[in-house]
Amino acid sequence: MSDAHAHSIAFVRETELPPAPPPTAETGAVKWVRENLFSSIFNTIMTILGLLIVLYLLSGLIPWIVNGTWEGASIRDCRETLQGSGGGCFAVLAERWPQLLFGFQYPDYLRWRPSLAFALLFLAVPPVLFFKLPRWMLVITALYPFVAYWLIWGGTAITPIFALIGVIAGYFAFTRVERQGFVLGLLAGVIVAAIMWWIGGYIAAEEPGWLRIEAVPSREMGGFMLNMILGIVCVSLSIPIGIVLALGRQSRLPVVKGFCVVFIEFVRGVPLITLLFVANVVLAYFLPPGTNFDLIVRVIIMITMFSSAYIAEVIRGGLAALPKGQYEAGDSLGLDYAQSMRLIVLPQALKISIPGIVNVAVGLFKDTTLVSVISMFDLVGMIRGPILSSTAWTGVYWELWAAACVLFFVVCYGISQYSQWLERQLRTDHR
């Protein structure tokens, strides 16, 4: 046929060519290895280097794990069992595991409560994270904080129940009045909620025994639980504050905008540790004499401030990514500022911002370890303080730090994989 068309250009194919398999050198494992590992001299060297590194790491790790012992009451027992075989002394984990998770003060017979609370987390969080789940599941999310609070801190159930009733009543008042105007609605909501809380506080004081489970004060929280509590509470609290700050920073009112800019830039400009120092050694001066916040509450205040500034920046990005036409369409339909923010702008901006918020959350969660510097016994604080200084376990670091690494890695890696999945999802999502 090539002959044919070389001299007259008209050519029509009569027979179909079937697809042929590629030449053998182009398929199979051989090709994969050649292309992926040994495609050039440089690549070959890199491959060998990489293999050596992997081998070196494994040769150190595997005996440590395989020969390790999980039994014993002190490092001396470990030394006896191991007889210098290079294994790890994982007995410390076996013995101190509850302390690593819950701190040394949380009553041991109550540990099922925080465990349950964190198990419930797996029910409460997905409805927020995965849009495809049915909307009614958000009810679980909404109930969760109150249940979790009750489980972890204990005390009479009246407190969380009335807190919940207050929120619900406030919400209803808000929706009733909102048509009259957003500010009025907000005011009505806050007033109704405050009234309910006040009644709740009154009843709780009168009836402290009603549906009471044993109360655990905040300062007894510790271990990985403390990291989780700080992380979750601070991120949840900082999202609404972050939204307000982000809106404020976009505002045309110089006073509001100025305040938000100064706040955000200030908080982002200083290390978290200095803010924790403030919580620890300075904040007390600025509260009315006699108020005595727990350290944990003060720390929550400061970390919330910290993360809300970062979240505000993320949300600002989301707001900026929204086409101006959306604002204008809202205006031209006659929606006022609060309505167009609530109904049009924020739902979209927040959705865009979720991956960014998740990233801030992961960073913040990691940063909760800094509280160990101000004598709180989170996971790191537990290891550096009571466990390493106890006479039984002086000298076992690797096992403890490895456990800490694993705990953090599992949580953070999980979340960051989620945020990457979400980013892909949002990119392809047409809606």
Partner: protein, 259 residues
């Protein structure tokens, strides 16, 4: 100004004034975008505005809707003077519907929700009723079956028709269009223009920035040509296209009709 004698048949222009713009001036910073605009629109009139890019057409239309503030002169819409009083602005916006070049549908809401949002929140109409109205207008723009989809799932032409329906749901007495077809593929332009023609035939007061000359010929009572922030020429469509007076108009028409 009296109603024009060149009314296309079947369209009624009353004597009532819908929009009255007087000596209006607007600046962006020190840039004078609108200069001494005088324009009176009768109820039922359909006006097409054209002009080169940057001549201030969009700005004029957006001033009427208070999306932009003007700095001098007065705009009176349906008897309500446009001032900085929010109540007046709200009143005017609920009288005036607007369609944008890029539709600006709310992508996170279904078509139905897009259409009922403003009636429910601004007009405080019960949801049920709002949905009935919305369905009515969606039928009018011929896409009732898409009510539960999201804007992203519709073609451009369908989206623009939804945008029109959304405006109509507020039962406006005046509709403003800012290049409603310029972001659309040619096949879709027609379906949108058809919807607009139908609207015109029902007597809606319309101000439309567009370069679709066929449309202008068919429905407009008046064509206004703007350049450099000024109204340079206005006339009924036939004389406007066949016999433009001003040099700039001639140049402009030769460009867009030739191309």
């Amino acid at each position: 100004m009296a109603a024009l004698d060149t009314n296309p048949p079947g369209m009624i222009v009353s004597d009532e004034v819908a929009i009255d713009i007087n000596n209006m001036n607007k600046w962006y910073g020190s840039f004078h975008v609108l200069r001494d605009i005088d324009l009176t629109v009768q109820r039922g009139e359909r006006i097409v505005i054209c002009g080169p890019s940057g001549s201030g057409k969009s700005t004029l239309i957006r001033c009427i809707n208070a999306l932009e503030e003007h700095q001098q002169g007065s705009i009176v819409v349906d008897g309500t003077p446009l001032s900085s009083d929010l109540k007046d602005i709200d009143k005017i916006r609920s009288e005036v519907g607007m369609c944008f070049q890029h539709f600006n549908l709310f992508p996170h809401l279904t078509i139905m929700e897009n259409c009922t949002l403003a009636p429910i929140w601004v007009r405080k109409i019960p949801k049920k009723e709002a949905e009935e109205t919305a369905m009515h207008f969606l039928e009018k723009v011929k896409i009732p079956e898409q009510a539960d989809k999201y804007p992203g799932q519709l073609s451009g032409g369908q989206q623009q028709r939804v945008a029109i329906a959304r405006s109509l749901c507020m039962r406006p007495r005046i509709m403003l269009f800012d290049e409603p077809t310029s972001a659309l593929d040619p096949e879709m332009i027609k379906e949108v223009l058809d919807t607009m023609i139908q609207l015109a035939e029902e007597g809606m007061t319309m101000l439309c920035v567009t370069h679709e000359m066929g449309f202008a010929r068919q429905v407009a009572n008046r064509v206004i040509f703007m350049d450099a922030g000024q109204i340079v020429e206005q006339n009924a469509p036939e004389p406007f296209f066949t016999n433009p007076q001003n040099e700039r108009t001639k140049l402009f028409l030769s460009q867009i009709l030739g191309h």
